[in-house]
Symmetry: C2
Subunit: 487 residues, 2 copies
């Protein structure tokens, strides 16, 4: 990985806008300085740099493993969707058409029919499922695709909202409505488990309001996380598409009872947006803080260059690097002589490396290493004897602590109110989630959004029905909705 180093080793990493000054600038500073992504010459499109892409690879591997363990397989469908296909499901085209990039020319010829660059692939996949599915014996079809998609966005922000982004999209077809619903919920649970155990990002899982559901879906479920500035981030969605796409694309099968029936389909996805979520859940004014399970380097070893360190300290550092690597730990040894240890400490803190090991002549005398945690900044000496096991345990502890800390932050930033005045007051600051009673009318939802910028993130599973009336209209409320300002 290429690093642009300041010429002087005294030029420590600075120039990160404090979160309290401007959270949004802080975010952009981190993205740029940690070399996660960069702006490209194409409006709204980013370049994912090697350090950022390494995080994405870890996300991909750990999600893909989970998809396969639940019986899903990967495939690849075309980037292009002919316009006539996009038009087949009425709600779907209404939702996506305004955001589509259109190919009108191929080589030297004008196309007879223009091609949409996929904003999502329900339509092109629907055509194929119509060909592949004939009998109940062909079901379920459980396919996932890792791909790029394009949505023409007016306002973009690296990872969070870009014209092109990377994602996975699952598309499944089932024999019965119950099986499709089970799949939709199973994937949402998988996303929640992944977000919490891998990204250390606690999420609220529940159902989207009807105005926020996916264009063409019967029901949309989501996981919602809370960022450091009190705004919510929709981190993943799972859609029960009912028979809407099956009817639009005539995906029919002969049932066990020999009758011809439409399949029941689902779709679900998470994207590179998750990287934005990790940054804003854990980061601080010194930079990124990465949960060990998605850290490209879980441990950085910094040799302390005293005396004849290259004959004494350096070989020991190399030996320890090899030991830790053999134990499955991702390690970077930075023996670059053109930078001071101080510069390196700041650099790897900024890059969010969970654990730093400092090794100098004195540590070697004591047969120990000096360890500094990125999350708590706690420091301790650890004996070299049995180091891999100790480091593995410490990384697990950091992983658990980051989740606990984020969960506590969310609890401290979640309020409950029945009063619209109080609701408005909360939404003026750094609000977090506000749980409030809602009558499920689109009108109340829209009015609240217009007046406070807060949207309903979701209605969590299993939340008790409210006793108070609707926050906005005073009519009887049917659900307790989670509101927040959001990305």
């Amino acid at each position: 990985m290429s690093k642009q180093k300041p010429q002087s080793s005294d030029a420590f990493v600075t120039e990160i806008t404090p979160q309290s000054t401007d959270f949004s600038r802080w975010y952009l500073d981190i993205v740029r300085k940690a070399e996660l992504a960069d702006y490209s010459p194409v409006k709204g499109c980013m370049v994912i740099r090697p350090y950022g892409y390494a995080i994405w690879e870890l996300i991909q591997q750990q999600l893909d493993q989970r998809f396969k363990a639940t019986g899903h397989v990967n495939a690849y469908f075309p980037l292009f969707v002919p316009e006539s296909l996009l038009l087949k499901e009425a709600d779907h085209v209404e939702g996506f058409a305004p955001q589509v990039a259109w190919v009108t020319k191929g080589g030297t010829e004008e196309l007879d029919e223009r091609l949409a660059i996929r904003p999502t692939s329900e339509t092109i996949i629907g055509v194929m499922y119509q060909k592949w599915i004939q009998s109940w014996r062909d079901l379920p079809v459980l396919i996932n695709q890792w791909a790029n998609v394009v949505r023409w966005e007016k306002v973009t922000r690296p990872f969070l909202r870009t014209t092109e982004f990377l994602w996975q999209e699952g598309h499944t077809a089932h024999e019965t409505e119950a099986e499709a619903e089970e799949e939709t919920r199973k994937i949402l649970a998988l996303y929640k488990e992944f977000a919490e155990n891998v990204l250390a990002m606690p999420v609220v899982d529940g159902q989207k309001s009807s105005s926020e559901k996916f264009a063409g879906a019967s029901r949309t479920y989501s996981i919602e996380a809370l960022m450091g500035d009190g705004r919510a981030l929709q981190a993943g969605t799972s859609h029960n598409l009912g028979q809407n796409f099956a009817k639009a694309f005539e995906i029919q099968f002969q049932g066990r009872d020999k009758t011809l029936q439409h399949v029941w389909t689902t779709s679900w996805g998470v994207s590179t947006r998750l990287i934005g979520g990790v940054i804003m859940t854990h980061g601080d004014d010194s930079g990124l803080i990465l949960p060990p399970r998605v850290a490209p380097w879980q441990v950085v070893i910094v040799p302390i260059p005293r005396g004849n360190w290259q004959e004494t300290v350096l070989p020991k550092c190399q030996e320890i690097r090899d030991q830790l690597t053999a134990a499955g730990i991702r390690v970077r040894l930075d023996a670059d002589e053109s930078q001071t240890p101080g510069w390196k400490f700041a650099e790897y803190e900024m890059r969010g490396v969970p654990l730093r090991l400092e090794i100098g002549p004195k540590d070697i005398e004591k047969a120990s290493v000096f360890a500094a945690r990125r999350d708590t900044r706690a420091k301790q000496s650890i004996p070299m004897e049995g180091l891999p096991a100790a480091i593995t345990a410490l990384l697990d502890e950091i992983q658990v602590n980051l989740l606990a800390r984020a969960r506590q932050f969310r609890e401290e930033h979640t309020s409950t109110t029945d009063s619209y005045e109080e609701f408005q007051r909360i939404m003026e600051g750094r609000p977090g989630f506000v749980i409030a009673p809602w009558c499920e009318s689109d009108a109340c939802e829209a009015a609240i959004k217009a007046e406070t910028q807060a949207t309903i993130r979701n209605i969590p599973f299993g939340s008790a029905p409210p006793t108070a009336p609707c926050l906005k209209c005073g009519q009887p409320a049917t659900v307790s909705a989670w509101f927040a300002k959001s990305y």
Copy 2:
């Protein structure tokens, strides 16, 4: 994976056109029947089905491992290339412009500047390298990208030539010409080792003629394989781009001597075309033959349903599946009662599974399994005791045998001639490679192609200079070129 099964278990897999009747139809039959790929509603674009995509995942994993072991990292660059960027390198635009798909509209707005969908990414990456590289300390930059690309093709064939395809493209920048040349050759050697050891596909490595080199390159190297019909397949290319792109994109760095210099760049790629190469290198009239290292299922277990097999045979099959899986072998147990063992034998032969294990009551009595190899069709009994080690060894043997067999086929289909008449005669049948002296003039190369359809595949490294004159013009020849009809 969804299978479309015939209703009757007597309907064995048939309907594969014999290779000798029509190799091209044989190929398309295999692609369709083995469910590797399917035609999509978008002209020239295919759908890679789960079984085909699983092969691609195995290719990706094993290549990516090799790239990382040689110091490369992955990143992701935008799908779109603004037209003005594509125009910057003169040879490059001349080579690619006729094949570009153009986006002219985003959402509801006409674009001021149209966007090419990347046919390859030298240009968009060049812009970023210009930003990222300042000093010799930033070099080398060793980045790879896994991505989709689009080239508007008139005639397409699944895997071999499609409008959209998946590939990896490496893009590196170096301080000196020698380092760039070393990288270009190192990657070609990596491709050759991968093709031979993983795909069991022997390849000839060498330099492309100047008319066949990459648009914008100083030198192009390739690996060339020989397919079962005697046509060559270009399986991978590695380009030394000199300072051509560095100058077009002003990628400059301050050298060790403090002077401002242009970097030296390379690019290299292999694609889903490799899957086509595997099919046509190994397949036969019964279907696909997959080398174990890229077989989604290396072993299929078919229980023989006799007597109370579900209480006796089936549990043993499951136990063996679990044993083999634990040993790192990819196993499928097909206990589906709606199909006969005979149907399954044909089905998995057609899908190219390297090894079939049949287990019935008699095998259990003898504490052995009955194994059938796909490559040689040899059958043998193997004791259950120590089965995982025996199967691992057998898979290795199959892997080695497939390479040896393909190498022998290539040797039998490679001729050497100094006579143009003989050359023309050979090219009329199923020709294979023909090694012949060439004067390195474009005119002779073009005339030979026009008259025989044969092109120069490459000039292999280290081949002895010819003593005879140029095959075509009779002037002194400088190199021994490898000719073939090609895909």
